[in-house]
């Protein structure tokens, strides 16, 4: 951390000694300037010049007064690895108990400032999600607990350890039950440690608890295959995906892992003749449903009927055993035929946390022979391990007073357990309660002992995401506060003097080093730390054997859920996920990709229901007994359903999260041992009160304009220009009176493949983190002043009840004939010799003419001072929050216009590097922040002058077009047409 020092007082004035006498001398000197006759006011040329000169000089002196200078002191002994001004990257791992990514952390002068995906990790490669991108800001959260405390009194670690050890020994001596309640742990070394820790006690239980649970998937696999795991889904090997409510591109299990596999099979850039077909059934409008080739609306209660019917039809056609069951309201035989045609090369998914549904899904996949290639039970995903029944049992035990000690790590049941009151009353009955959390949450303060843990960027850790694929976490900064890792605490409390770092190393030396080919552990360790990942070949693949009994039991006792008039579904939003990171202003202000709404959770209802009930968007509606939320009319929402996002309505999670929206976790139902994320509301009631929603896009139709150009796969294969015919027409009309501009060296361009973009919003946060984009708050978003430099436009077409959805990332188009450049009166925005549309903040006087004259409206204005302004107290006010700022990018002043720069700081950095190394710049070497974060490689940046660059090849594609090309703005950003695979059969 950079230290600052004020200049010592004596440097301020150059005079030393007696101030008064010096002032007198000055005065005398000044008076000497004027001769005696000056006061007689006889005006002569000499006197005039004197007076003029004196006043001019005084004005100049007054004007030259400088602001106080803050100096930074350099290192006395500079660490060899640090060169001021050059970033250092550390490979580490993001895992918060719900989402995993192997990442690289960029640090500048000791501060982590940006997160990138680790390209060495086969799990997510360079892709990240918005939540992972934003996690660096959570490190600098002022609301983080800053020291250990007992009953809210800050104490030292020594004293808290002593008290806890006392208590825990006391409890253990009488055989009281000690429970460790954690989020899912996928760290092999921590697992070992927990086992050792538990082994010390007579009566120990370890419960893993996830706020959004995949318990049913695990239990169904356990029942069907005897393996309690979440399988890996290999979309890249599939021809057909049928998903029933599984938002696998947005939030379900591991989107960052699924998106690249899914989009890999949907790219058509290298002469592919086929693409993955995606059929989706869902109630709310998710980004996965938006990307589907065929989307059908269903109510949650219909899922089991649909899947059972589908099973029967496939079974019937393939000659397997069928069961008696209700048939679905639509004829599924075509779907069944399609699935059978893609036998072994399809995936059927269900996103519902219901064991019966998951067992039927497994049955379908088994019938289709999808286990093996497309669904891999051997290389399962260690993402989530919580079993709902165990948590329910624990809470019951706590409530009954059977638990004597409860150690909580990274969980927040007071917020996200369906019965928070029961949990809290149980907590009161527990003698020893310890909370180990990295951030402030609703459970904080409820336990006697608070032992705050490091942020993941401050800690050592490891993770095994799939068997044989490991990654390491290493600290990228010294702990900012008096925190301690969870594992260190366990080691202290089990009386083990070794530090967690040494424990981890020892474990790796023992467990994983022998699996490597390297001769020396030190080298192995250094290499693993440097790479961040380590993998070894695991044991041979066991074929999955399906146990029919469970399926027969489920199919024969089909529990038809009675359909209610209104079924409410809770979903994880793209921005906030489970709500664990809600105090992160970047995420809070990230609009949902489909609803384009942020800073609140809303009740999404279908246009038909809204019309029937006379509800307008923004009306406060009452769902069931006492849930009052603003309504949002969501095209594509299934009739009779209402979707509400989880993760809002915090009460004690920090200033950003608190009192924004409503917490719906208490309405989650415990249904047959599994938590069901939803409930049924008898009716909806319009309270007729209005609230204004913070929407970032309010018009949804393309108005027949060729903004997103689309075609179908069949037409595309016939004619690769299909859907894009107009492009050639415009190109043929390309004429100008002026000499065409040539770019001799580089000509930067960006290609965006609309067929690959799934709308995950990762680029938006990546850009925000890279370019110091301020958060403006709910009121300003309502006034349409969000600052994001890249935004994902979302359009609907067809009818509102069943729309097609389009995503289009929109950023500065870097037009070679830019309308904005021409109109700036002070030339603050101009064109570089490399085709960049540049913004000179120093020169900008803020006339906003360029904003008006940009047909894409990608320019942003600093309406207020967003830095050091208490009115915008998000992350650019406190010293801590400002540590996330990227020193390579100017923090903009109030009153200037800003916009996407194609990450010019990255271009310069790589150009300089290539120059120093005396070599040509490689294609793909420069990556803009959006490109780097994109899990689907939909954004490709590069040099258009290099005919072999990836971007040039895409620019040569018949699918390429420019947005509003008829205006002859000559953008450097190109879009590739959207191709739907919605026809019945690929021709």
């Amino acid at each position: 951390m950079k230290k600052h020092r004020e200049i010592p007082e004596e440097f301020h004035g150059l005079t030393n000694g007696n101030d008064r006498s010096s002032a007198k001398v000055q005065k005398d000197q000044l008076l000497e300037l004027f001769e005696d006759d000056f006061l007689k006011l006889s005006s002569s040329r000499r006197n005039f010049l004197k007076v003029f000169g004196f006043s001019f000089a005084s004005a100049a002196i007054v004007a030259a007064c400088k602001r106080p200078v803050h100096m930074a002191i350099p290192y006395v002994i500079q660490p060899p690895e640090i060169t001021p001004g050059k970033p250092l990257y550390y490979a580490t791992t993001f895992y918060d108990g719900h989402e995993y990514s192997a990442i690289l952390v960029k640090t500048r002068d000791g501060r982590p400032i940006k997160i990138e995906g680790n390209s060495l990790s086969p799990f997510n490669r360079e892709g990240t999600t918005a939540r992972v991108q934003a996690s660096v800001l959570s490190l600098y959260d002022d609301a983080r607990p800053k020291s250990p405390s007992v009953n809210q009194q800050a104490v030292s670690w020594e004293s808290i350890d002593e008290q806890i050890l006392n208590d825990i020994t006391g409890i253990n001596s009488v055989g009281g039950e000690i429970v460790l309640l954690t989020s899912t742990i996928n760290s092999p070394s921590t697992l070992k440690l927990i086992n050792e820790f538990g082994g010390r006690f007579k009566n120990f239980r370890w419960v893993q608890y996830d706020s959004v649970s995949y318990s049913a998937v695990i239990e169904a696999n356990s029942a069907c295959f005897g393996r309690a795991v979440i399988p890996d889904y290999n979309f890249e090997k599939a021809e057909l995906v049928v998903s029933v409510g599984a938002d696998f591109l947005g939030t379900w299990i591991a989107p960052v892992h699924f998106i690249p596999k899914y989009t890999a099979r949907r790219k058509l850039n290298n002469g592919e003749k086929s693409m993955l077909r995606h059929i989706h059934f869902e109630s709310g409008m998710s980004i996965t449903g938006s990307n589907a080739d065929v989307r059908r609306k269903i109510k949650p209660s219909e899922e089991i009927i649909l899947l059972a019917d589908l099973y029967n039809r496939i079974a019937q056609k393939t000659g397997a055993e069928t069961f008696h069951g209700t048939s679905f309201r639509e004829d599924l035989s075509e779907l069944a035929d399609n699935l059978i045609a893609s036998k072994g090369r399809s995936v059927v998914l269900s996103g519902t946390n219901n064991i019966d549904i998951q067992i039927i899904t497994n049955g379908i996949n088994y019938l289709l022979g999808n286990y093996g290639d497309c669904i891999d039970l051997n290389n399962y995903l260690n993402i989530s391990a919580g079993i709902d029944k165990k948590m329910e049992g624990l809470v019951n035990d706590m409530d009954a007073g059977r638990i004597k000690a409860l150690l909580m790590y990274n969980v927040n049941p007071a917020y996200d357990y369906p019965q928070p009151d029961k949990f809290l009353s149980g907590l009161k009955k527990t003698v020893l309660t310890i909370n180990m959390a990295g951030h402030l949450n609703e459970t904080s303060g409820k336990a006697k002992f608070e032992c705050p843990v490091h942020h993941f960027l401050e800690s050592w850790n490891d993770a095994e995401i799939t068997p044989g694929r490991l990654s390491l976490s290493q600290p990228c900064i010294n702990p900012l506060f008096n925190t301690r890792s969870f594992q260190d605490s366990l080691l202290r409390w089990s009386g083990n003097p070794i530090s967690w770092h040494d424990y981890l190393m020892a474990n790796w030396e023992k467990e994983f080093f022998p699996k490597s080919a390297l001769p020396d552990f030190r080298r192995f360790w250094d290499r693993c730390l440097s790479n961040g990942v380590f993998s070894y070949d695991q044991q041979d693949n066991k074929p999955a054997t399906f146990k029919k009994e469970e399926l027969s039991r489920v199919m024969n006792n089909l529990k038809i859920i009675p359909a209610e008039e209104y079924e409410v579904i809770f979903y994880e939003s793209i921005a906030l996920g489970t709500g664990m990171h809600s105090n992160n202003p970047w995420l809070m202000e990230l609009p949902d990709p489909v609803s384009k709404h942020c800073w609140d959770n809303v009740a999404a209802i279908s246009p038909k229901d809204a019309e029937e009930l006379g509800i307008l968007s923004g009306h406060l509606i009452k769902l069931g007994a006492d849930l009052i939320l603003p309504a949002f009319i969501q095209p594509g929402q299934a009739e009779g359903t209402v979707s509400v996002a989880l993760g809002y309505g915090h009460k004690n999670s920090g200033p950003v999260a608190d009192n924004i929206g409503l917490n719906v976790y208490p309405l989650v139902r415990l249904n047959g041992g599994n938590r069901y994320y939803g409930f049924t509301a008898g009716r909806l009631e319009n309270t007729l009160k209005k609230s204004q929603l913070a929407l970032t896009q309010v018009h949804h139709s393309m108005e027949g304009r060729p903004i997103v150009r689309e075609t179908t796969l069949g037409e595309y294969l016939n004619d690769s220009h299909s859907g894009n015919e107009i492009h050639e027409e415009y190109e043929s009309g390309h004429r100008t009176l002026y000499p065409e501009v040539n770019f001799d060296g580089f000509h930067w361009g960006l290609a965006i493949d609309l067929n690959s973009c799934v709308g995950c919003n990762s680029c938006v946060i990546a850009c925000q983190a890279e370019n110091n984009i301020p958060v403006v708050g709910k009121e300003e978003v309502k006034r349409r002043r969000i600052m994001h430099w890249i935004k994902i436009d979302r359009y609907y077409s067809d009818n509102p009840a069943d729309p097609k959805v389009y995503f289009q990332p929109l950023t500065c188009q870097h037009c070679d004939n830019a309308p904005c450049e021409n109109v700036c009166p002070v030339s603050a925005t101009n064109h570089s010799s490399e085709g960049l549309n540049q913004m000179t903040y120093n020169r900008c006087i803020g006339t906003k003419y360029c904003i008006n004259n940009c047909p894409y409206r990608v320019r942003r204005f600093n309406w207020y001072r967003y830095t050091n302004n208490k009115a915008f107290d998000f992350n650019t006010v406190s010293d801590l929050g400002k540590m996330v700022l990227n020193p390579d990018v100017t923090v903009r002043e109030r009153g200037v216009v800003e916009k996407c720069s194609f990450c010019v700081q990255r271009i310069q950095e790589k150009k300089l590097q290539a120059k120093l190394e005396n070599r040509p710049l490689l294609d793909n070497e420069i990556k803009t922040a959006c490109m780097q974060a994109c899990p689907s490689e939909a954004i490709i940046f590069g040099n258009l002058n290099d005919k072999n660059s990836r971007v040039s090849k895409l620019f040569g594609s018949p699918r390429l077009y420019h947005l509003l090309e008829e205006l002859h703005t000559l953008p450097s950003v190109g879009y590739l047409t959207r191709i739907w695979n919605g026809e019945k059969k690929n021709s």
Partner: protein, 453 residues
Amino acid sequence: MYNSKIRGPLIEGNKSLGQITREVVAPLETKSGRWWTVALGLSSLATIYGIYAVYITVYKGIGTWGVNNSVGWGWEIINFVWWIGIGHAGTAFSIFLLILRQRWRTSINRSAEAMTVFAVLCAAIMPALHMGRIWLAFYIFPYPNTRGPLWVNFNSPLFWDFTAITAYLLISVSFWYLGMLPDLATIRDKTISKIRKALYGFFSMGWTGSSRQWIRFESLSFILGGIAAVLVVSVHSIVSTDFAVGVEPGWHTTIFPPFFVVGAIFSGFAMVMTLMVLIRKIYRLTDYITDNHMDAIARILIFISLIMGTAYLTEIFVAWYSGNKYEMFTFFHNRITGDYKIQFWGMIACNALIPQLFWFRKMRRNWIALLSVSLLINLGMWLERYTIIVTSLSKDFLPSNWVSYTPTFIDVGVFVGTIGLFATGVLLFMRYIPMMAISELKGVVHIGSKKED
């Protein structure tokens, strides 16, 4: 050529030259009425509201206005164009009529020019305030500097704008002030107060009324008039290029320069009409500003109103005829129908339809009709600028960027403040400067009067 048989007498009441001086100077010499104090109080209050709004804007930022990411220009630019338009009347009035040797202008031109100066001042506040960093406004001055030197962008209409407005303001002020010299000298000679004598003496720049001075005075008037006549046309043409150079649908059209100039003269004449009706009524100057004068202005207004109507129709026709879908949308779905249809139809009604009432002689001679129509025209012209600026920006090329626009309390404050400033200026003008060019009035006192026959 000075003999006007068609118009009848330019000044009624068979006045002697001394009487003219006495009557015109009377408001300066006598104690002002209570209405004047009340009006000044009210306009000062409005000005104070404006100063508060300006203070907030400068202190906190343009975020206090209603503008947003899509609508970058709002009320302030509407007001700017509106005030500049009003500021056209004085110069248009005096100069065009001076060049055309229309002597009936003599009783009106002084007030019209005063109005121009105050309106242009009000207008000049707007673009300055609209700058995000007003403290760096000097970047727009084209002068050799130590920053490179960095020059301004000579391609930018905003720079042309800055040049045009500065030139216009300077010329209008000079023309107005220099035209006042003989009258200031008259007051200097008449007054008995020492302070006044000193002040008016200073400002009359040693005017003695010698023949040589008169000759120079006349030729200077013509020179300045010649320059100003060009500026009247150029200023609003250039203001229109702020829009016409842009790519926005509804802005990018070649009709804008003449359309804007005519519109400006329209609103200016309407404002002259408003003021004249009030001055006549309050100061009982009906002998000088006769019904014939008002009649003439009203006839001009009908004529311009017809041009305006034609221009509106042309714009709509061209939008349709071009087949450009963005233009079509702007005109047919965001102006004629849509969120802003009230503003659009208000504009049509006030500018193209209501002025047609002046075809009736009765209307041209009824002061209430004159006052209300002139006020409606100014409202209509404000709505026209609203329609042009807001509708084009709010819904342009990419529907994802479409928004609606609502002004804030501060936007209103800035507008009300300039109205207050304008009114204060006009009230002070009435009190401290002769409202009519006495010397010129004397030149036309007998024209058309019965005496000459």
